[in-house]
């Protein structure tokens, strides 16, 4: 190609600059992240949440099936006995220690699948950065959801024998 021939040089130049000109008229696609957050997908797996029943009792019964299912060994659960004067969850036991190392967790959701009471759910918070590795360990208090409206906080004192099942009775067990 002869670079000194304007008939051969100018048309491709104009074509290229036309593309540039067209994109200046387009709306910018950039999401201004810290101010504007793109909503996550419905099934996005972010930071875990420990759920509560509507009456405020914790769903987690401390069975540690999530810790067994975890492929990265990120979860540590220690269970203690529930007593009627100091009740955290329905049933015999509750998780007195529940720790997840967010730097170990790979957010696969196996814990969610393993949980028999649907206590652990992966939420939609992804803003997890730490300046120290010890900050990455989320304890039970950090993971627990707030008490829903109309519920009472845990631990609470209940009538003896009022909560003897770990899982509430299903209306339609089919």
């Amino acid at each position: 190609m002869n670079l000194y021939n304007p008939l051969k040089v100018v048309p491709p130049l104009v074509t290229g600059l036309w593309t540039t000109f067209k994109s200046t008229l387009k709306k910018p696609v950039t999401i201004q992240y810290p101010e504007v957050k793109r909503p996550v997908r419905e099934r996005y797996k972010g930071r875990h949440e420990l759920k509560r029943y509507d009456n405020g009792l914790e769903k987690c019964i401390g069975c540690a099936l999530c810790a067994a299912a975890c492929p990265a060994d990120a979860i540590f659960v220690e269970a203690s006995e529930n007593i009627d004067e100091k009740r955290f969850s329905p049933g015999e036991r509750y998780a007195s220690t529940y720790e997840i190392n967010m730097l170990r967790c790979i957010f696969c959701g196996y814990c969610e699948d393993a949980c028999p009471t649907e206590a652990i759910v992966l939420g939609d918070n992804y803003e997890l950065s730490f300046t120290d590795r010890s900050q990455a360990i989320y304890t039970r208090e950090m993971l627990l959801d707030p008490v829903p409206a109309g519920g009472e906080p845990t631990p609470r004192e209940v009538e003896p024998g009022s909560f003897d099942r770990s899982i509430p009775e299903m209306k339609d067990p089919a």
Binding site: V29, D73, L103, C105, Y126
Partner: protein, 160 residues
């Protein structure tokens, strides 16, 4: 630095200088073009137009460590890669920072085996750990903002 020992407490002069220098450091922190595994894909995505890290003065990923300020360890570091990573870190000029992006770089993640370094902080000093497998581009930007907060808190005595 020894400035305060020689001149005493300079008060407003040094704080303003600190603020100015830290402002400059946080506004143009060039990362190194350096990806090791799947996290690098998200690092590229955070540089692309949807998230656009150039809003934070990071439009240039420098392929040369001599021109980089920030090392984003994106991905798992094998034992074979570890001396290379350390050498790249040593070649970066001061001041320099390290972001450990993702689980594998932070603590080995699921790869708890002999081939993978169990946390890149065994070889380089890490400033910010970003959790996620891999982290979203937003999560990486959040980690970088955490690093900026940390840099803004640095004083004249802690400057290297």
């Amino acid at each position: 630095m020894g400035v305060e020992q020689k001149l005493g407490n300079m008060g407003v002069v040094t704080t303003t200088l600190e603020q100015m220098v830290n402002w400059g450091r946080t506004r143009a922190m060039w990362p190194m073009l350096f990806g090791l595994a799947c996290c690098a894909i998200e690092m590229m995505a955070s540089q692309a137009s949807d998230y656009d890290m150039s809003r934070f003065g990071m439009e240039l990923m420098r392929p040369s460590p001599r021109q980089a300020d920030l090392m984003i360890v994106a991905g798992r570091v094998t034992r074979k890669m570890a001396p290379v990573l350390r050498r790249l870190y040593d070649q970066m000029p001061e001041p320099k920072w390290v972001v450990s992006m993702g689980d594998c770089a932070s603590c080995g993640g699921v790869f708890n085996n002999y081939a993978i370094v169990q946390g890149v902080d065994e070889i380089v000093p890490v400033d910010v750990y970003v959790a996620g497998c891999p982290p979203r581009p937003e999560a990486l930007i959040h980690g970088i903002m955490t690093l900026h907060e940390k840099v803004k808190g640095e004083g004249i005595k802690t400057w290297a």
